[in-house]
């Protein structure tokens, strides 16, 4: 009854169609446009030409692309893999031992940053790190004089801001994961004389490995795509010192009107996301023998 089997697939056809039209089509278009000289204005806007690999060749001969790629890697590693992930795990571990009131206060404070709309969070971070901002005002109270964070340490500022904003997600994932760790295993280890850190490293972490991998995948992909936060805080400046790939793609496509080159940068970003995703998916698969 093969016909029957195909008919059974019918209910998912509409959603597959919608996914194809609204998710895959823009990605496919982005790849297509990256091989053309499509532009916002000028002759190329009326009649875009196929230029083959020209945009990609230009990308690798252009100084700003390798810099942007490097900044993106640093940004993701520092703010997601280290910042959000480790801090989230730490808070989740501490919350298990703390008093209920303390843990709910901390939880609310951390989650508050996360539920803010991105644009609001970005402005809050801008107001905090600005040269006359909250941070420098607080430093002034103690007689210190802070630098102009967004200008002198733009990358540090956006890393801290993204860590602040995203830690809640990791914290929630790890709280749920830790709640599932059976108490008796930990107690057995305690009986055997395992120290606190030993129980963490050899019992707790291996037990929540799959949560760690899932969490890492989600926050990595999310951080790769962070745009609003950076755009509002530094707009990629000064002199490209905080221009990550999404910012570079936006600048090329919409500030300079070079849609072709902008989509080429975006396509590289998509490929990067797929590579990261594939690595994490593999990690997830390996641990289920």
């Amino acid at each position: 009854m093969t016909i029957r089997r195909y008919l059974r697939l019918l209910p998912v056809v509409p959603s597959v169609l919608l996914l194809l039209v609204f998710l895959l089509a823009p990605v496919a278009w982005s790849f297509y446009a990256s091989f053309t000289n499509a532009a916002l204005s000028g002759r190329a806007a009326r009649d875009p030409q196929w230029v083959g690999l020209e945009n990609y060749v230009r990308m690798f001969s252009d100084d700003s692309f390798p810099l942007a790629a490097w900044l993106t890697v640093v940004f993701v590693a520092a703010s997601a893999v280290l910042g959000q992930n480790v801090l989230g795990l730490l808070i989740a571990l501490l919350m298990r031992r703390s008093r209920k009131a303390v843990s709910s206060w901390v939880g609310t404070a951390v989650v508050a940053a996360w539920i803010l709309p991105e644009i609001v969070a970005a402005f809050a971070a801008y107001a905090y790190f600005n040269r006359d901002g909250t941070l420098n005002q607080m430093l002034a109270l103690f007689g210190g004089k802070g630098p102009d964070w967004l200008y002198t340490f733009p990358l540090v500022a956006i890393i801290l801001a993204n860590t602040w904003r995203g830690t809640a997600f990791s914290m929630l994932v790890y709280r749920a994961a830790l709640a599932d760790v059976p108490q008796d295993v930990s107690e057995a280890a305690l009986m055997d004389g395992a120290q606190g850190w030993q129980r963490l490293a050899f019992i707790t972490l291996p037990l929540i490995r799959s949560s760690i991998a899932t969490n890492l995948m989600l926050i990595t992909l999310q951080t790769l795509a962070v745009f609003t936060l950076i755009w509002v805080m530094t707009a990629g400046g000064p002199a490209n010192a905080s221009t990550t790939l999404p910012v570079l793609a936006y600048q090329e496509a919409f500030k300079f009107g070079d849609i072709g080159y902008g989509t080429a940068v975006a396509s590289v970003l998509i490929v990067l996301g797929v590579v990261f995703g594939a690595v994490y998916v593999r990690l997830l698969r390996e641990q289920k023998p």
Partner: protein, 451 residues
């Protein structure tokens, strides 16, 4: 067989839904036409919005079957240009009449966004009242006119008289050379270190402002230029370019201008008009002839005392060489969309928005230099603010940007060079060399001129 039956009924619905989102709206019925008008509006720029509201009332009263949809875009100049270009990519979103920067006219004509207006202008009596230079603002490479200017502008040095006098500098002040500017600025800094002596924009943050209100005043005052109009080639390797960057470096290194961090803030100009000048924290800067529009009654940063406290001076050429000074002119136009389904009506709306009454209101409220001779002769225009005469005279020494299709990217390359220099990332020589390389890459070796 129940399941397929149900889906046989669902599928057409889904198909219909998809079709509905994909299709354009049905064309408006013949007797009830709509015009879509797109223009810029911001918290500090409402003069055009007022004019458009008036023009809409006037137009709808005269043409009862037409509905005018005003769709202002709230954005700065750069973002406005991007949004407008995006809207023009599809006939469904393209406007009928829109507000267009003069320097984008040629590029957008190439892109096929603008309708050629020659045959319409022939039948419009008022067209003869526009001065010749203004008519050229909307001319494309093929010689046709594609846009009609609302007004034009010039750039000058604006200075706070009280701040200069406090430092012992006589007013009215008119520097004759670049060195005059530096020595005055140093004197102001020596007398009061908390004052910003002479600011000039730099970096990508202020966008076109960086070139129009800063770098080009320098470059065109050397013996160099950006673009050779005769040869139609971009100038590279000129000493004037490096010297202009070096002048900016001096201003920023000696802290005669704002800090580089402040300069890169896209909103720095708001502080110039809204805080630093009125509070006497800034001695002088280079800004447009539209400057009074921010301070006059109804402006974004009302300041009653500006007429007495501010002075205006011509930006000098480097060593005072002929013609003694430099200014830059730009301005905005109205144009009709090439994809407009009601081109005739759209042009009619354009003439309403640009008639004498509306042009006068716009030029006065936005401190524009009139391009219609009948507006320029109006007493309410001449007395709009005390600086109308001074800034209008700068038309004699003014320059226009090379409005070619390549221009916007070249402009960005210049902005990048200024940013690299004031942040100390590159020396003026290195930044100029990188600019040259970028220009060659952008336009090709055949379109550059070594000088």
């Amino acid at each position: 067989m129940r399941r397929p039956m149900r889906f046989a009924t669902v599928l057409p619905v889904v198909a219909a839904l998809l079709a509905a989102t994909a299709c354009s709206s049905t064309p408006p019925a013949a007797e009830n036409k709509t015009l879509k008008i797109v223009y810029q509006k911001s918290d500090s720029f409402t003069a055009l919005d007022t004019v458009m509201q008036d023009a809409k009332k006037e137009f709808e009263a005269a043409n009862s079957s037409v509905t005018v949809n005003l769709e202002p875009i709230q954005a700065n100049d750069d973002d406005y240009g991007t949004k407008l270009a995006l809207a023009q990519r599809s006939p469904d979103t393209a406007p009928d009449v829109f507000y267009e920067d003069t320097f984008k006219v040629r590029s957008d004509v190439d892109a096929g966004y603008l309708l050629k207006l020659d045959s319409y202008l022939e039948k419009w009596d008022d067209w003869s009242r526009f001065n010749e230079a203004a008519k050229a603002a909307g001319r494309a490479d093929d010689g046709g006119i594609y846009a009609v200017p609302l007004g034009t502008d010039t750039r000058a040095i604006w200075y706070n008289k009280a701040v200069l006098q406090k430092a012992g500098i006589a007013v009215p002040w008119q520097p004759k050379t670049w060195e005059d500017i530096l020595s005055t600025a140093r004197a102001i800094k020596a007398s009061d270190p908390s004052v910003i002596p002479f600011n000039m924009y730099a970096g990508k943050g202020t966008g076109e402002g960086t070139v129009m209100q800063s770098f080009y005043e320098l470059l065109y005052g050397t013996d160099s230029t950006l673009y050779d109009e005769k040869e139609k080639k971009w100038v590279v390797g000129s000493q004037g370019f490096t010297d202009s960057l070096a002048f900016l470096k001096t201003l920023y290194d000696e802290k005669l201008a704002v800090s580089p961090a402040e300069a890169l803030d896209a909103n720095v100009w708001k502080k110039v008009f809204g805080e630093w000048f009125p509070q006497g924290k800034l001695a002088a800067t280079v800004e447009g002839s539209y400057t009074p529009s921010f301070w006059q009654k109804g402006g974004a940063y009302e300041w009653a005392g500006y007429e007495q406290e501010m002075g205006v001076a011509m930006f000098p050429s480097r060593n005072g060489q002929e013609p003694g000074g430099v200014s830059m002119s730009g301005g905005w136009t109205l144009a009709v969309g090439a994809k407009s389904k009601n081109a005739e009506l759209a042009f009619k709306f354009l003439t309403t928005a640009l008639n004498k009454k509306n042009a006068l209101a716009f030029d006065v409220n936005n401190s524009q230099i009139a391009v219609r001779t009948d507006v320029a002769a109006e007493s309410s225009y001449l007395s709009a603010n005390p600086f109308v005469k001074d800034v209008s005279e700068l038309v004699k020494v003014t320059h226009y940007r090379p409005a070619t299709a390549d221009y916007p990217r070249i402009s960005t390359a210049v902005q990048v060079a200024t940013e690299s220099v004031i942040t100390g990332k590159q020396s003026p020589e290195d930044a100029a060399a990188e600019y040259d390389a970028t220009v060659r890459k952008l336009v090709g070796d055949g379109k550059v001129l070594e000088r």
